[in-house]
């Protein structure tokens, strides 16, 4: 499908090389009116080139904080994030981010949205449109280049965001619940799209999610986080064959992984739920 040559560093084989992303003992605290809240507590992980790494946890476990710390959008934390041995201070060119919220620029057409990072980098016009066009077709939006986000469905808009991030050719792609606002069918199909792109580009990816099926379907390894403070509860190797599609969801091994992770997660989610209820009770009713 792809006609444009991809940079060679993407061809690295998983498991062979040095870790490309190292998160070293991150602690992030926030000051709130009710005192200090530890959102992320002593989280370490390392990701090898070409690996698909999932982070799963209940809402409120500090997943998004971790995402913003690795992406360089948050500072004032203890510990370090290193990309290829280099410490991250502020947004790093090797890291691309896909946000949970709908994040396409409404005033730019599909192709102009995808060309945005290339424009920022100062690439000449003809070249950046050629490259943007390649990534538009990679996410399967051929024919929609001149449309505006308002004319697209939610799933299509999220694909535009994905193409935009991929167009910057990051070494690592961070995704923060990219499918959270989509319906179940779109979510599965988009998961297939991510798998297909992942296999095509050997794109190193860190996916943050609270959806177990999604995490197991896509990841090579999954880190389960605890609820408040967000610590590492367990890291699970997902030993399922690749290439995968959404059909894998019905296999027996898949079910075992889901059950195992759900077991870890249930405890944390219950704790989160109780905490949430007692907080609302104290606040005088549901908000």
């Amino acid at each position: 499908m792809s006609a444009v040559a991809m940079p060679s560093e993407r061809d690295a084989v998983p498991g062979a090389a040095e870790p490309i992303l190292v998160v070293d003992r991150i602690v992030k605290r926030f000051d709130t009116p009710d005192g200090t809240l530890t959102a992320v507590d002593d989280v370490s992980l390392s990701i090898k080139p070409g690996e698909f790494f999932g982070v799963i946890g209940p809402s409120g476990c500090g997943k998004s904080t971790l995402f913003n710390v690795i992406g360089g959008l948050l500072d004032g934390y203890d510990g370090a994030v290193r990309v290829g041995g280099e410490t991250v201070r502020g947004p790093h060119p090797a890291i691309g981010m896909i946000f949970q919220e709908e994040s396409t620029f409404p005033w730019r057409s599909v192709i102009d949205n995808v060309a945005f990072p290339l424009e920022i980098a100062g690439m000449p016009k003809a070249e950046r449109y050629a490259r943007a066009g390649h990534f538009v077709s990679l996410v399967g939006l051929n024919g929609f280049e001149r449309r505006f986000p308002a004319e697209l469905s939610g799933g299509m808009r999220q694909r535009v965001s994905m193409a935009r991030t991929l167009a910057a050719e990051p070494k690592i792609m961070l995704m923060d619940e990219p499918f959270a606002s989509l319906d179940e069918q779109t979510r599965l199909l988009l998961g297939d799209k991510v798998l297909q792109i992942q296999q095509e580009l050997k794109q190193t990816t860190l996916l943050i999610t609270h959806n177990i099926t999604e995490a197991v379907q896509l990841s090579d390894r999954i880190m389960v986080m605890t609820y408040r403070p967000g610590k590492v509860k367990r890291i699970v190797d997902i030993d399922l064959p690749r290439p995968r599609t959404s059909e894998i969801v019905s296999s027996e091994a898949f079910g075992r992984y889901v059950a195992q992770i759900w077991n870890d997660l249930r405890e944390e989610a219950t704790r989160g739920l109780l905490d949430d209820e007692s907080r609302k009770l104290r606040a005088g009713g549901p908000s």
């Binding site: 502020g90 947004p91 691309g96 981010m97 994040s103 005033w107 920022i120 505006f148 935009r164």
Partner: protein
């Protein structure tokens, strides 16, 4: 009113009316207004010339538009409005960005603007005369004061309403400050900015022209008050028509340019 069934009009006309009911109604309304107006003008019930005949107004319009001195006065007014828009617009934009960018500034100063905004601005005119004299300076000041408030308040509001995730996208691609302003902040704020300018131009026009009617020797506002003093009613009507056409036209043009009528790209 649009029913033509009882008229013995030819079938073709009737079909046209049925196909274009809105246009027909518009024509009917306009004709009715003109007829009532003309009837009033000829009845002699009102003071002489308070409601002049359309023929007289039309003639005055032609005279006005073919008079070179009118264009000199129009130029004077445009000159004042132009400077007022530049001064009021730029300072409004700057203050708006300041207020929109900082929570503290917003909470400290926005209430002042918000409550001063709806005050009648023309009452500052005597002070503006003391500060800037009776010439164009005081009119420019009036226009600038008028247009400052809607621009500042719209820009501040627009800046706060920018979708925060778009700012994070820009930062994640390492856009520098200039790129953030030109490629993220400005496009994201284009609707509130243009709307502020549109509202600002409206009140700027009023501020400048009212100042001209109060005390001046040039400008269209001066012509209006002069026609009042000379009791030349057809001339006054022709001037008001020209002013309204300019004001409504400019308003529609800015709306169109800014795509305010397009929801597609919003």
């Amino acid at each position: 009113m649009a029913e033509t069934g009882r008229l013995t009009a030819p079938a073709r006309a009737r079909r046209w009316v049925q196909a274009h009911p809105v246009t027909t109604l518009r024509i009917v309304i306009i004709v009715a207004v003109l007829l009532v107006w003309e009837g009033l003008a000829r009845s002699g019930w009102l003071y002489r010339d308070v409601v002049p005949s359309w023929v007289a107004i039309g003639r005055a319009l032609v005279v006005t538009l073919s008079d070179a001195t009118f264009y000199w006065h129009l130029y004077t007014t445009f000159y004042e409005i132009g400077w007022a828009m530049v001064i009021g617009g730029v300072s409004g934009l700057a203050v708006g960005i300041l207020l929109g960018g900082s929570k503290l500034m917003q909470r400290a100063y926005e209430p002042l603007l918000y409550y001063l905004g709806p005050c009648p601005k023309i009452i500052f005119f005597p002070v503006m005369i003391m500060w800037f004299g009776v010439g164009p300076g005081s009119k420019i000041a009036m226009g600038a004061i008028s247009c400052f408030f809607p621009v500042a308040l719209n820009v501040a509001g627009g800046m706060r309403e920018i979708d925060k995730v778009l700012i994070r996208v820009g930062r994640s691609f390492r856009a520098n400050t200039w790129q953030m302003v030109t490629k993220v902040y400005m496009p994201a704020m284009r609707h509130p900015i243009i709307n502020g300018v549109r509202l600002g131009l409206g009140v700027c026009l009023i501020g400048t022209l009212l100042a001209e009617t109060k005390l001046s020797n040039a400008g269209v506002g001066f012509l209006v008050i002069q026609s009042y003093t000379l009791f030349n009613m057809p001339h006054m009507y022709s001037l008001l028509i020209v002013l309204f056409v300019i004001a409504i036209g400019a308003n529609a043009l800015i709306g169109k340019l800014g795509g305010l009528d397009q929801i597609r790209r919003s």
